[in-house]
Amino acid sequence: MESGGVNRILCIEDDPDIQAVLRLSLESVGGFEVRVIGSGFEAVAAAMEFTPDLILLDVMMPGMDGPVTLAKLRSETSLRRVPVVFMTAKIQPGEIDGYRRMDILDVIPKPFDPMTLPATIAEILGRGNVRT
């Protein structure tokens, strides 16, 4: 699978049910090395340690949501360039457009299909390479 040299993915997702599917999808279907954490609070520390090639970030999380987590990540010099992809359920029209203006690669709508998620990521990364 053409994944633009991406091997390690950090997932930030609070729902344990979805965490399990993400792991299965990205590890077993996509062949990535995956680290899953449950909240934005751990994001910076986990990203510094795991040095992911890509971060999948859930938008609606209790305590610290996706955009705030993104800002925290970007405030660290070493994490400024790590590509981030949001995952969100379409709640309000226009919400996704708002996210696209942030410093992220793309938005993956929820619910996602675990069997095709790796392909979606590969496609986003392909485009990302062209852009940078």
Binding site: D15, D17, I18, A20, V21, L24, S25, S28, V29, M60, P62, A89, I91, K110, P111, F112, D113, P114, M115
Partner: protein, 546 residues
């Protein structure tokens, strides 16, 4: 290991199944919060929490491909989000929300039902002899420096499906406990002298601990108690007694969940009661049409029935009479749910066979407690009526009744079953040589071995004296012979302790199966003949009916 061999698709399917099993609990929380909201008394955080739960449910159900649940959860979420400002919903909105909630609950129900149908058909597809006990294996950590003694205990425990790991030092055992906790720790009492076999700082939870010692002196026992020991045995240890204690201490002694049937014509109410009880760990099923009670009655076998007193099709009192007319359900507690205050009306309803009244406005935890108390008492009463006092197995008459019922069920479904008659060899000699107390221990030992090694769904009874009977559901005669022969070989290797020395005992068994023998009586006779053949052929063997 096997997890990694399965394809991602298979693993996803397995995850989906356990996700579906968790749905009723998730929806319960939503229903409880929604009810608060609709009753106009939500606290600020309740609405937020409700949105949070709905959001999660919508996201996760969609991910697992449950489109229906996802749709209903996300439209309800959108509706509730509008109430985040603390407004009390208008009556019209409230009606709308309650309708959506009902649809959501129904969509979950469909998934749960489909799931319940699916696994049972798959279960019968796996051969009965394979793997039936592996997932029930209980872990025991044995701290013992004497390697020969340790391996002897480990082998004996393995007959009863306990999986023993032996550690010669406390340090090694503590190391192992960091990755996996056992159900029980067995430790030589010499470790108790050093203030407990574990320092305790390295792991927060210490499993129940049983101390073993060569000497039964009061000092050693005291050391064991002071070290936090839960039980104490002197060596050589009687395996039956040890297993008895392990069963009580390990989590596997947990009882089956209570089975509650709710009969209530109002869907939302019925769902609410059922989910409330499910949340308390019970197995609750509900029925909105009282005319359909017969099927759940015989198939679900409720241990208590909660019944609305006013229903359009028939009253609770009438329905109670119908239930009571069947001998099998004469003693099942029936509790009426009602807002009735009139004592005279209540009394009349009780005369028809109801046991008690519960006010519909009862606090949720009071309802749960009240149901628990009644089922507990019902279980005790039933066990007196149905079970043998020495072994706790079903009595002769009950096992025969079960055989008739199960043969009928297998015939209707086109299934199969096996029936085994088991008799301990030369049991009279055991009693004569070692006395009745030791003989009783052997009987208890065999009953425990059968309970540990057979599936939970298999039916085990004591036929009388030293004779036992087993009904193995969805099992062919061939598989049954294979399984029982394994148990026979374990039983023969168990060393029993008598005052005049150690000894071994064996058993013989005869097996007959349905549909080869079509009637319960025929199966019974054929198994009896096979047992006779096993005895005549030299005992300590399992023979299928010819």
């Amino acid at each position: 290991m096997s997890e990694h061999n399965a394809s991602p698709g298979d693993r996803l399917a397995a995850m989906r199944e356990s996700y579906i099993a968790s749905l009723p609990e998730k929806v319960t929380q939503i229903i409880i919060l929604c009810k608060k909201l609709l009753e106009g008394k939500p606290e600020g955080r309740d609405v937020k929490e409700l949105v949070f739960h709905l959001h999660r449910l919508s996201g996760s159900s969609g991910t697992y491909g449950l489109a229906d649940v996802h749709e209903h959860a996300s439209s309800l979420e959108k509706e509730i989000v509008r109430l985040l400002d603390g407004k009390v919903p208008e009556p019209e909105t409230a009606g709308h929300i309650s309708g959506m909630l009902r649809e959501l609950a129904a969509s979950v129900d469909i998934q749960v039902e489909q799931r319940q149908v699916a696994p049972s058909s798959r279960e019968s597809a796996t051969p009965a002899g394979t793997d039936r006990t592996d997932h029930d294996r209980k872990a025991v950590y044995l701290l013992e420096t004497d390697a020969a003694l340790a391996s002897d205990i480990a082998q004996h425990l393995s007959f009863f499906n306990y999986e023993t790991s032996v550690y010669p030092t406390a340090v090694e055992m503590e190391e192992a406990m960091r990755s996996r906790l056992p159900g029980v720790i067995l430790a030589n009492a010499s470790f108790a002298k050093r203030g407990g076999c574990l320092e305790g700082e390295k792991c927060r939870y210490i499993p129940p601990t049983v101390y073993l010692s060569d000497s039964g002196t009061i000092e050693t026992r005291l050391d064991a108690v002071r070290a936090g020991g839960d039980a104490f045995f002197t060596l050589p240890v009687d395996i039956n007694e040890l297993v008895d204690t392990l069963d009580n201490l390990s989590l596997n002694a947990v009882e089956d969940p209570y089975r509650v049937l709710v009969v209530e014509d109002d869907f939302e109410q019925a769902m609410y009661y059922a989910l409330l009880l499910q949340q308390a760990g019970m197995q609750a099923s509900f029925l909105t049409n009282p005319m359909k009670i017969m099927k759940p009655l015989v198939e679900f076998l409720p241990e208590i029935i909660l019944m609305d007193i006013h229903m359009p099709e028939c009253t609770g009192a009438e329905l109670a009479s119908v239930v009571r007319q069947q001998t099998a359900f004469v003693s099942v507690p029936i509790v009426f749910l009602s807002a009735e205050e009139d004592a005279g009306k209540k009394l009349r309803a009780m005369q028809t066979g109801g046991d008690d009244f519960i006010n519909k406005n009862i606090a949720p935890d009071h309802l749960v407690t009240s149901v628990k108390i009644k089922v507990e008492r019902y279980r005790v009463l039933r066990s007196f009526m149905e079970r043998d006092s020495l072994t706790g197995l079903l009595k002769h008459s009950r096992i025969k009744e079960h055989l008739r019922n199960e043969v009928g069920r297998a015939r209707r479904r086109g299934g199969e079953l096996a029936f085994a008659m088991i008799d301990i060899d030369h049991f009279k000699r055991v009693n004569d040589t070692h006395g009745h107390l030791v003989g009783d221990r052997v009987l208890k030992g065999l009953s425990r071995l059968l309970q540990q090694r057979l599936r939970k769904t298999d039916i085990i009874g004591r036929y009388g004296g030293e004779e036992f009977a087993v009904i193995m559901l969805d099992t062919s005669g061939r598989d049954a012979v294979h399984i029982l022969d394994g148990i026979r070989s374990s039983f023969a290797r168990i060393r029993h302790h008598g005052d005049s020395g150690d000894f071994h005992v064996s058993f013989s068994a005869g097996i007959a199966d349905f549909p080869r023998f079509g009637q319960a009586v025929e199966i019974n006779e054929a198994a009896d003949r096979a047992l006779y053949a096993a005895k005549a052929g030299g005992r300590n063997r399992v023979i299928p009916a010819g």
